[in-house]
């Protein structure tokens, strides 16, 4: 039981990293970034390349997400900022176009084959929990996820930049009237969101199959998480990710037939009872 829970929680961490960026970007910029899953995918591929070149998992973990952050910068600076004032449908179309383009670009460069790099030696062991064996890597993932959560909290709640971000998320117009350079802030927030997705992808590289379609798989789950937790709420994204992770883990154990549907059922339930999500803010 406990073992299954830990597996579920560690799986939840990939989701959390993607959902955190998605929610942050939506909360501050009011843009739903469909391409966020693709950034996750790029994180995995870039980390894989970095691993092949350097031979070090740690270098891969550092380089992969940073390159994704750079891609995020190019997306925001080159494209997204042109459609902030356009209707939402245009923003969705643009980010969806990125999904298609990035998927095909990855196929073109890496081919459609599934790639599975090895787990780094330092993390390839396992620990005994009760009567089950849990790979050390799962614990590592859990630690990184928790650390990122803590880091984001400290960043947003305790730093000056975080304060300006919170103010801008709450009332963009007033923040600008006070002198906040919103467009520059948006660029940084998007870069941060992209980095988080890239980190998730890089972390998933050794244990999950890398494939051009991995972005779509996770973006749908991330949307479920973000809607469940409340759009724009990081706490909601965190709790939502854990909830979905646990649901999958225990669902697999107790009712494998429904496992895939459980997340959506949870989301439907939350939407009926609290349409603004668990930690979202009721609007209007």
């Amino acid at each position: 039981m406990l073992f299954q829970g830990l597996v579920g929680l560690s799986e939840a961490m990939y989701l959390w990293l993607v959902a955190a960026g998605l929610s942050l970007i939506f909360g501050v910029m009011r843009v739903l970034n469909f391409a966020h899953g693709s950034l996750y995918m790029l994180g995995a591929y870039f980390a894989w390349v970095a691993f092949r070149v350097s031979g070090s998992f740690w270098v891969a973990l550092l380089v992969g997400p940073l390159v994704v952050a750079a891609v995020g910068w190019a997306m925001e600076f080159g494209f997204l900022r042109r459609v902030y004032s356009a209707p939402e449908a245009f923003q969705l179309l643009l980010t969806f176009a990125f999904v298609l383009i990035l998927d095909d670009a990855v196929k073109l460069v890496f081919g459609p084959v599934y790639q599975s790099p090895p787990t780094p030696a330092a993390l390839s062991g396992a620990v005994l929990i009760g009567h089950s064996v849990l790979p050390t890597y799962h614990l590592f993932i859990l630690g990184v996820g928790a650390l990122v959560g803590l880091g984001l909290w400290v960043f947003l709640e305790k730093t000056s930049f975080g304060l300006v971000i919170r103010a801008t998320a709450a009332d963009r117009e007033m923040a600008r009237a006070l002198g906040v350079r919103a467009s520059r802030l948006f660029t940084w927030v998007f870069i941060l969101g992209a980095w988080l997705a890239g980190l998730g992808g890089a972390l998933s590289m050794p244990v999950r199959a890398i494939s051009p379609g991995m972005g779509e798989l996770i973006i749908i789950e991330a949307f479920v998480v973000v809607v469940l937790g409340g759009l724009g709420s990081l706490r909601g994204a965190f709790v939502g990710s854990l909830l979905i992770g646990l649901l999958h883990a225990y669902g697999l154990l107790f009712m494998p037939v429904f496992e895939l549907a459980l997340g959506y059922m949870a989301m439907a339930l939350v939407l009926i009872v609290r349409p603004w999500g668990l930690f979202g803010i009721r609007e209007g």
Partner: protein, 499 residues
């Protein structure tokens, strides 16, 4: 005689603010009644309670003998209550005719039944024609609704509302954002509509010319209550109504001498035109404000004061051809963050405090936004001009009262070290004590060399603090009042601000 609409003991509060504090009203069949009142009087809440968008905390809404208090808007439309909105809602890509056909078919139950007999559609078609004639749009039936002028869209909207064959029509600012000629055309149509039928019309409107030109009966709201109700002339002569619109002169004692010698112009506005979408709000507004001056922009609500301040702060881009100069530098069209850096700071009428941040953090955002290390307006100095803030720095914005939020909003604006402070309705809804603090604070702020342009709808505050007043009507600057005019009984001021 039985009333079409009867409202009894209607109350509605939001958090700690009571918007509608007990309204009783009965409308007999037919005729036009107007609801007026200064900003924050509860007009919008009242019309939302009538249309079903809001549910009252207490009281009943009875329509044609049936209690509709808890019916949702769509059900109210079915029993014969229709409304139009402040913002136009038409389908821009459909033709004028098709726009009206949508509600007509929906009402006839034909929208989802493609196999109904064709002559049923003929009836619907005839009704569409009739409705378009009613509002004078028959000639434009096949034009796209998106190509209509602002006024014609309004008329189209009215035709769409009439498709439900209502007994009561609620009009929310039917002529907002219209030029004089267009407004008169819409008015003529509405008047004709009322004369021809037994339709009862209730309208909420700022424009006094519209109200007095249209309504046989006027209901005045103030602080969520009906304070006067009667024929237009009665309302004009009502002492309390005059007081509310002109302000009670005794609340704030006027300061001794007009302070501070004023210098060269800090702000120069020439041919400012602005608006939202099709609504042309500001027409060719030109004025200057000298360094160190406190100037009041006066006018009844809806005349364009807020739009003027928003244009000066960059939140609304002025239309082409407008020129704004700040200390000689052209700034029209600059984004708000740039203007903030140049020394323009704006305090909106609804304060816009960051609700989840503490009072101290609200100030810090203003420092951080401009990447300043220090400000002339330190917390200690702010506490000196707004003593009540001294104990509130750790409190979250959402837990501050309206008056406290107002002081904090001004403090936050000062933190950006502005040379020009734009204040929208600084005294609105504040207790006399806070108004006094505010008046003293402005005098102090000015003595520090900050120029102030404030917008207000009554004379009271302007009389206490301003060196000069610019009076607006329907988007234009129509009158300039000196300090002496403000203190005395300038007949033009009375005419422009009273009902």
């Amino acid at each position: 005689m039985s009333a079409v609409l009867e409202v009894r003991g209607l109350r509605k509060s939001f958090d700690d603010f009571t918007a509608v504090a007990g309204i009783d009203l009965a409308l007999p069949e037919g005729g036009i009644t107007a609801v007026i009142g200064p900003n924050g009087a509860g007009k919008t809440t009242f019309i939302n309670l009538l249309s079903g968008k809001l549910v009252p905390d207490e009281g009943r809404v009875v329509f044609a003998g049936a209690d509709v208090t808890r019916l949702p808007p769509s059900a109210r439309v079915r029993v014969g209550m229709a409304r139009t909105f402040q913002i136009t809602n038409v389908f821009p890509l459909l033709s004028v005719e098709e726009n009206v056909a949508v509600p007509v078919l929906a009402r006839a139950g034909l929208a989802l039944e493609p196999r109904r007999r064709v002559d049923a559609f003929d009836d619907a078609h005839a009704q569409v024609r009739r409705l378009l004639e009613t509002v004078g749009l028959a000639a434009r039936a096949s034009d796209a609704a998106g190509a209509l002028s602002h006024g014609d869209r309004r008329l189209l909207e009215i035709a769409m509302a009439l498709a439900s064959e209502p007994r009561l029509l609620l009009l929310d600012e039917p002529t907002a954002g219209m030029g004089a000629a267009e407004r008169d055309r819409v008015l003529a149509q509405v008047r004709a509509l009322a004369a021809r039928s037994s339709l009862t019309i209730l309208l909420v409107e700022h424009d006094m010319e519209v109200v007095f030109g249209l309504a046989a009966r006027i209901v005045v709201l103030h602080q969520g209550r009906v304070i006067a109700d009667g024929a237009p002339q009665q309302i004009r002569d009502d002492r309390r109504v005059r007081e509310i619109y002109l302000g009670d002169a005794d609340v704030v004692p006027p300061p001794g001498e007009a302070a501070a010698q004023t210098g060269a112009p800090l702000l120069e506005v020439r041919h400012l035109d602005a608006g939202y979408g099709l609504a042309h709000v500001l027409h060719d507004v030109s004025f200057t404000v000298a360094r160190g001056e406190i100037v009041a922009l006066l006018g009844r609500n809806g005349v364009g004061k807020t739009t003027a301040l928003r244009s000066l702060s960059g939140l609304n881009a002025p239309w082409r051809g407008s020129a704004i100069e700040l200390a000689g530098r052209p700034v029209a069209g600059e984004p708000p963050e740039r203007l903030a850096a140049l020394g323009v700071s704006y305090v909106p009428d609804d304060r816009r405090i960051f609700a989840d941040l503490s009072a101290a953090e609200n100030l810090r955002v203003a420092m951080l936004a401009l990447r300043r290390e220090r400000t002339r307006w330190t917390r200690q100095r702010i506490e000196k001009i707004f003593p009540p803030l001294a104990t509130l720095w750790d409190r979250k914005g959402r837990h501050l009262s309206g008056g406290e939020q107002k002081m904090l909003a001004i403090a936050r604006a000062l933190t950006t070290d502005p040379s020009l402070l734009l204040l929208d309705e600084p005294s609105e809804g504040l207790s006399p004590l806070i108004v006094r603090i505010l008046a003293d604070a402005l005098a102090h702020i000015r003595s520090e060399g900050v120029t102030v342009l404030l917008a207000d709808q009554n004379l009271m505050f302007a009389r206490a603090v301003a060196d000069r007043a610019l009076v607006m009507e329907r988007g234009r600057l129509v009158h300039v009042a000196s300090r002496a005019d403000l203190a005395g009984n300038d007949p033009a001021l009375q005419r422009l601000l009273a009902v």
